[in-house]
Structures are given as structure tokens and as C-alpha cells.
């Protein structure tokens, strides 16, 4: 009896909070039929926006993955002074407002910023261009691979690696043949999380991109741009595409989720 009540409460809360938003996206997008929705997401601006989003993710995600694995190795296997600070900086993006992230980049690369003045003298544009958007996306999605790999590395311990070393393997061989196979699912899961965060980033890129339609608008910025121009169908159609991407991410996440007992 109590079990049933608890279940009802939980599922009711979830239906309220989750299902409503999801279904309404689809409803509003296709309110006037499939045609208008399709043409809305196939305009040049829309296509450019999605392409830009994917391009940014294609750079930020691999960079963060390599960083993530190296950082995890460092944290678990090679203690060093300042490790606490490193840990804090890596975890910080989880707790920090994206607007603050964007603003800090804005300050660093703005005309009067530490890097900004030097870079503009050499004709390199960071702000209001791809580079800053990549940096912003990388910033907010930095923690995920690290946090997934660290506990796995801790758990497997060094025994296998030491055995490989005694059998003559070089450091690289140990990594490639022993360490990496052990962490690859954790890395995969971390990559999925990183990708999800990169595709969905809004606040930070909002600040650094300048929001020039057709040039520096990502898919998320495109959505809000359409909304602000009262193009409801356009906004929701683009949202549907993003929602579908999100569902694919969800499914992948749940397929790759680390089994219980790892942590």
C-alpha cells in the first residue's frame, strides 16, 4: 500500500515536471502541420546554426576528452602539490553560472583584456567569432570525462599496470593495452555527457558570440533569436531538432551508464 502511494507520488511529480515540457515542444512545432516546421529548420540560417553547433562540439569534445583522460591519470596516479586546486578548477564549471563563464572570457579577450589587445593587434579575432565560442563550450563541459574516469582508475588499481611493466611494456604500451581498455566505457560515458553539454550550451555562448545571425549563431542561439522575432514555429521547430538530439543522448547515456558497484 505504502509502496503504491510512493510510486504514485513519484510518477505524478515526474509527469508534471518532465512530460509536459517534452510533449509541448512537439505540439507547438507541428501545430500548423509538418510543412511549415520543416521549412523553418531548413532555412540557410537554421542550417548554418546547426552546423556551427556541431563544428564547435567537434572541437570542444575531443579536446576535453584528451584533457579528461590525462587529468584523471594525473589525479589518481601522480599526486602533486596543488592537486586540490586542480580538482576544484575542474569541478567548478558544474557549479558556475554560464553567464559568468561567458563574461570572464569576454573580459580576457575583449579589446582591453589581457589577451584581447595583443590578439587584435595581430588580427586574430576571438570574441564574436568561433574561437571564443569553442572556448566557452569547452569551459562548461570540462568536468565530465574527468569525473567519470577518476573513480574507475581508482578502483582498478595499479596491479595490472605493474604486471604489464614487469613483462616489458613501455609506458605508452601499458596505457594503450592495459589502462585504456579498462577505462574506455567510463570515457565513452563521459564523452556522451560532454557532447550533451556542448550541444545544449546557451548562456556562455550568448555572451561571447555577438549573436550575428548566419555567422555566429549556434542552434540554441538560433532558437532564442527566432522566438524574439515572434517566429514561434521557427523557434519550436528548431527546438524539436534539439529535443530529438537530446533523446538520442538520453538513450546513449542509459546504455553506457556505469554499472552499480563502480563507485
Amino acid at each position: 500500500m505504502r509502496r503504491l502511494t510512493l510510486r504514485t507520488v513519484a510518477l505524478g511529480y515526474l509527469a508534471l515536471i518532465l512530460l509536459g515540457p517534452l510533449s509541448i515542444v512537439f505540439w507547438r512545432a507541428f501545430e500548423h502541420g509538418f510543412g511549415p516546421a520543416w521549412s523553418a529548420v531548413t532555412t540557410p540560417e537554421a542550417i548554418h546554426a546547426f552546423r556551427l553547433t556541431i563544428e564547435i562540439a567537434a572541437i570542444a569534445v575531443p579536446a576535453n576528452t584528451i584533457f579528461g583522460v590525462l587529468c584523471a591519470l594525473l589525479i589518481v596516479r601522480h599526486p602533486f602539490p596543488g592537486k586540490g586546486l586542480l580538482n576544484a578548477l575542474v569541478d567548478l564549471p558544474l557549479a558556475l553560472s554560464p553567464v559568468v563563464v561567458g563574461f570572464s572570457l569576454f573580459l580576457l579577450y575583449g579589446r582591453t583584456g589581457w589577451f584581447g589587445s595583443w590578439l587584435s593587434k595581430h588580427g586574430v579575432q576571438v570574441l564574436f567569432a568561433m574561437p571564443s565560442m569553442i572556448l566557452a563550450t569547452a569551459f562548461v563541459s570540462i568536468p565530465f570525462v574527468v569525473r567519470e574516469v577518476v573513480p574507475v582508475l581508482r578502483e582498478i588499481g595499479t596491479d595490472q599496470e605493474q604486471a604489464a611493466e614487469t613483462l616489458g611494456a613501455s609506458q605508452w604500451q601499458v596505457f594503450r593495452r592495459v589502462t585504456f581498455p579498462a577505462i574506455r566505457w567510463a570515457v565513452a560515458y563521459g564523452v556522451v555527457l560532454t557532447t550533451a553539454r556542448s550541444l545544449g550550451e546557451y548562456g556562455a555562448v550568448s555572451v561571447v558570440s555577438g549573436r550575428l545571425g548566419g555567422q555566429t549563431e549556434t542552434a540554441t542561439l538560433y532558437v532564442s533569436d527566432r522566438y524574439e522575432n515572434f517566429d514561434i514555429v521557427g523557434a519550436y521547430s528548431a527546438s524539436v531538432v534539439l529535443a530529438l538530439m537530446a533523446i538520442v543522448v538520453l538513450l546513449t547515456m542509459n546504455l553506457l551508464r556505469p554499472k552499480e558497484g563502480v563507485h
Binding site: 553560472s97 563574461f103 546557451y202 522566438y227 537530446a246 547515456m253
Partner: protein, 260 residues
Amino acid sequence: MSPFSGLTLGVVVSYLSLVVALPLAALVWQSTKSGSTGFWQSLTSPEAVSALELTLLASLAVALVNAVAGTVIAWVLVRDEFPGKGVVNALIDLPFALPTIVAGLTMLALYGPRSPVGIDVAYTRSAIVLALLFVTLPFVVRTVQPVLQELDHELEEAAESLGASNWQTFSRIVFPNLLPGILSGVALAFAKAVGEFGSIVIITGNIPFKTEVSSVYIFGQIESGNTSGAAAASVVLLAISFGVLLLIGALRFWATRHHA
């Protein structure tokens, strides 16, 4: 340290500095540029204070609701069986996977004008709470689930054999073991809520002193070129984020203090 790890350290530190540390350093430096009086003035401007108050109150309220709701949901997902449980479990991550701006649009569609359920809270504070409840949903659930799963069934059986009722077993044995997990989930949810931008910016109309949260306030300051105002408020949010991280670290330490 071997050459390999020396190289790794170099790469890691450089990357982290470029992407995270230097921008934040620039932020902190900027906030000192206008001197301590300037900083204090920007910090205590009525609009900034009002935004911060609203942000903190809403985030706290949402964190507390999640503490209860998240625990109940985690309990049902771990201890109960019903058809479609896998789907429900997967859906918990939706707020993480869905871009915040899309979440914001859907909030507007559901709870704004032309709402299919007849609730119109657009441009009100309730809208903020609703949006935050959506984006913070996964946090407590996902921190409590693994703890519940690993909780030794024998502990509950032992308590039962010693005469404890269901409630007593829960409150004296299960709950104390869940508490650190609940608290870290709450801390993460709080931090996310404080910094949330994309899901709020549309539905609330960002009316200063009424529905403007700190992140939106900062955005506005940037757009109007008031760098010092934006910097001061940003530093506050940065400090809150750091504080939350320290708290989570302390919780982790406290949780394992009795484990060999």
C-alpha cells in the same frame, strides 16, 4: 616524477589555465579595477541586491523541494518494480540533455499565455521556481540512487529482527546513510539553480526587482556596457560556486569518516 607524467602535468595545467583559470583570473582582476569602494557600490546597487535575494531564495526553495522529491523518486526507482521503469529512469536525465533555452520555451508554452493546462504564471516568480525545478531534477535523484543501491540489505534486516518498524528502520538506519548523498545532490542542485540562465530568461520577462535573477542581471549589465557592475555580481556568483564545491568536498569527507 617520470618524464611522461611531467609532460602530462604540463599539458593538463596549460589546458586548464587557458580554458578555466585565466578567464576567471581576468574576472577577479576586473572586479578589483574599480577599487574596493567601486566594487562595493556595484555590489550593493538595489537592482543587484534584489536580483541576488531572488536568486538565493528561489534556489534554496527548489533545493529543498528536490531533497524530498529526489529522494522519493530515487527510492521508487531503486526499490520498486513497474512496467516502464527503465524509460522513467532514462527520462530523469532529460533536463541535463535538453538545452536550457528549449526548456525555457517549453516552460513558456506550458505555463504561460495560451497554456494548455490553464496555468499562466509568465512574468511571475512562480515561473522561476517551475523552471528551476525542471533543470535541477536529476541532481538529488542521481546522487541518492547509487547509495541506495549499495546499501546492504542486511542492515535493514538486522534492524527489523531487532524490533524496528518500517519507519524506525528508515529513519534510524537507512536515512543516516542516505543523508550525505542527499546533501551533495542538494548542493549541486542549489549551485545549478543559482547560475541558471537559459530556462529562466524567456518565461520570466526579466522584470528588474520582480523577476530578475542574478544571471540575467549580469547579462543585462554586460549588454549595457557596465563592466564593473557585471564583474561585481559575477564574483559573488563565483564565490557561491566555490563555496558549494567546498561544501560537497566536506560532505564527502564527513560521509566516509566512519568507514575504515
